[in-house]
Subunit: 334 residues, 2 copies
DNA sequence: CTGAAAGCGCTTACAG
DNA sequence: CTGAAAGCGCTTACAG
C-alpha cells in the first residue's frame, strides 16, 4: 500500500525502451512493433503499472467527466434519470460527477462549468441562472430547462401532457376541474398550468380562480391543497383534480381520506410522473408517466454527440408521455 | 468561447511578476506583499483567469474527488444516502463521482479504486469482490459491507432491527410469524434473517421452514412471496410477516389485497427502510426506519477524517433505527 | 518503428 | 517577499 506507484518511466526502464514507446504501446499499440509491445506488456505486468488518468487528461486538455446538476438529490424522482445518464456515460468512458444544486453554494456552482472540472454539463435544474452555465462547456438541459439558455433540450411536452390529464377528467364527465400547480418559479409548473388552461378552453371549460391551488411538488403541499379544497363548499369545489406531481397527489389523497372523503367516489385525482410505488397507494393513482430513464439516456447521448464534435442543432428532443389509467379518477357521479 | 483560456503565465505577465508569485497570491495570499497581491488580483480580473483544477491536482497528487459505488442507481433507496454524502463532501471541497456497479463493467470498477481517479471511496454495494477495493484508496463502507474487507463501516444493526420487527409482531399476539428475506448474496439479508431467528428463539418461537419466503428486495418478489403465502392453507400460514424491504412489503400487500385479503385484519405486515410514500400506501406501512441521510453524512465524514490523515480506527459506526408503527400490523385476532 | 524533448498548467523547495 | 527551475505523470509532434 505504501509502496510507490510505478510510473511510466519505471516501465520504460524495465522494458528497455523510452517512455514515449511505453505510452504508444499502451494507448496506440499499432504504432509499435510486436516485440516491443510484448516487452512493454511484460514490464507493465512486472511493475503492476496503471496509467495515471489525471496526467493523461491534463495532457489531453480534457477531464473525462460530465457533471450533472441536480436540484435536491434526495428526491427519488431523479434517481432513474441519473441511472439513465450513468448507463450511457459509463460505457462511453466518462465519469459522472453529481452536484446537488440545493446544497452547493454559488461558488461551487460556478466551478461546475469549468473546463478543468468536466467536459460537459447536464442541467436538470431549471431555476439556475443562465450565466452560470453559459458559454463555457457543452451543455444539455434535461427535463427542466433554463429560459434564455440556448442549449439542446431533452424533455417531454409538459403542456400537452397536462392536456392529457384534463381530457381524461373531462371525458369522465367532470366539469368543475381543479389544478394543484407546482412552484411558480419552475418552468414545469408554468407549462403544465398553461396546458391545463389550454385544454380546458378547448373543451369549453375554464379554470376557476378558486380551483387553482398553490403547491411546490412536495407531498406536504399536496396536503395543504387538500385542506383548502376541503374548506370550500362541497357543491362548488372541483370534482376532479389534476396535480402537477405524484407526490402532491399522494399528499392530497391521504389528507382528504383522513377527512373521511372517498377517492375516487367523491373526488377524482390525477397525478404526474408515475413515480415508484404510486401504483400501490390506495387507490392506485392515475397519472402521467414520464420516461425517466429514457430522458437521462437521451440527454447523455446528445451531450456525447456534441463532445464528439458534431455541431449540435439546438433543437429539442421531445419524449412521449403516457396517461396511465388506474383507479384514482372515475366517472363523475354528480 | 473560442478565445483561449488564460493561464497563470498570462496573469503573471500582466501583473509583472513570476508565475510562482501568482500561484502564491492565489492559493496562499499571506505569502505575498499587499501590493503584489493587488496587482495579481487586478490581472486576474483583467484576464478572467480561473485556476485549472486538474493541473493543480496533478501537482498535488490528489484528485479532489470521492467515488461512491452504488448498486443500481435507479433504486430510490440510495438517493437520500447520496444526498447525505453530497451534503458533506461539497462543503469540504470534494467532488462526488457516482458509479453504478450494476451497469459498470469489471474494468470500470477496477478503475474506480485508482488514486488517479479519486482520493477515496464510499462503498454502498456489499456484493463487490473485496480485491477490487482493497489497499488502494481510503475506503468506508456504508449500509452494506464486504466480508473480508477491513474498512470502517457505517451501518445500522440489521440483526437488532429485524428483532424489533419480530418483537412487535409477537407483542401483538402473533405466533405464526413469517419472513420474506432479501437475496441470499446480500449481507443485509443474512443479518436480518439471523435477527429474525434470534429474536423468535428469544421469544420461545421459531421460524417454520415454510414461513420463510425468498425475495430479492424488489416489489415484484414481494408479490411472488404473497402468491406462495396465499397458496398455503389459511389455518397454517403465518398471521404476521416481516419483510426485509418496504418494496417487498408493498408488493406483498398489493397482491394479497388483490386476492380479497384484508390487511391488517387478516394478515399483519411489517416492512424495512421507511422509504418515501410508504406512509401513504393503504394501509400505511408499519416499518423499520433507517436514518438514510445520516448514514450518508456519517460515511462521508469518516472518509474525510481518514483523508485528513487520521489513522482511522476500523471500528463500525452503528446508527440507530426506529420501529415506525402505522397500520399494517395489528393484534392477532385468531 | 523509436527516442529526445517540449509541454499540458500548475506548485514548491531552494536561493536570494 | 520573490524568482528560476524542477517536477506532478503523461503525450506527441519532430527527427531519424
Amino acid at each position: 500500500m505504501s509502496r510507490e506507484r510505478p510510473r511510466i518511466g519505471d516501465v520504460a526502464r524495465i522494458a528497455g525502451v523510452s517512455t514515449a514507446t511505453v505510452s504508444r504501446a499502451l494507448s496506440n499499440p499499432a504504432l509499435v512493433s510486436a516485440e516491443t509491445r510484448a516487452a512493454v506488456m511484460d514490464a507493465v505486468e512486472a511493475t503492476g503499472y496503471r496509467l495515471n488518468q489525471a496526467a493523461r487528461n491534463l495532457r489531453h486538455r480534457r477531464t473525462g467527466a460530465i457533471v450533472a446538476l441536480v436540484p435536491n438529490l434526495a428526491n427519488p424522482f431523479f434517481s432513474q434519470i441519473l441511472s439513465g445518464i450513468a448507463s450511457v456515460l459509463g460505457p462511453a468512458g466518462y465519469n459522472l460527477l453529481i452536484v446537488d444544486t440545493w446544497t452547493a453554494g454559488a461558488d461551487r456552482l460556478r466551478d461546475c462549468a469549468e473546463p478543468s472540472l468536466a467536459d460537459g454539463l447536464i442541467v436538470l435544474d431549471g431555476t439556475l441562472p443562465a450565466e452560470i452555465v453559459t458559454g463555457r462547456l457543452p451543455v444539455v438541459e434535461a427535463c427542466e430547462w433554463i429560459n434564455g439558455l440556448a442549449a439542446p433540450r431533452v424533455k417531454i411536452d409538459n403542456r400537452a401532457a397536462a392536456g392529457l390529464a384534463i381530457d381524461h377528467l373531462v371525458d369522465l364527465g367532470h366539469r368543475r376541474i381543479g389544478h394543484v400547480a407546482g412552484p411558480p418559479e419552475s418552468v414545469l409548473s408554468v407549462a403544465r398550468l398553461a396546458g391545463v388552461r389550454d385544454r380546458l378552453a378547448m373543451r369549453g371549460l375554464s379554470l376557476a380562480e378558486d380551483a387553482l391551488y398553490a403547491g411546490d411538488f412536495s407531498l406536504d403541499s399536496g396536503r395543504r391543497a387538500a385542506l383548502s379544497w376541503i374548506a370550500q363548499p362541497a357543491d362548488l369545489r372541483p370534482t376532479g383534480l389534476f396535480l402537477a406531481s405524484d407526490a402532491m397527489a399522494c399528499g392530497f389523497m391521504a389528507e382528504v381520506q383522513r377527512h373521511g372523503i372517498r377517492v375516487p367516489e367523491q373526488v377524482s385525482i390525477i397525478g404526474f410522473d408515475d413515480i415508484e410505488l404510486v401504483s400501490h397507494v390506495s387507490p392506485p393513482l392515475t397519472t402521467i408517466r414520464q420516461p425517466r430513464t429514457a430522458l437521462g439516456r437521451m440527454a447523455a447521448e446528445r451531450l456525447l454527440h456534441q463532445l464528439g464534435g458534431a455541431e449540435e442543432a439546438e433543437s429539442d428532443t421531445i419524449l412521449p408521455v403516457e396517461l396511465v389509467i388506474r383507479s384514482s379518477a372515475t366517472v363523475f357521479a354528480g
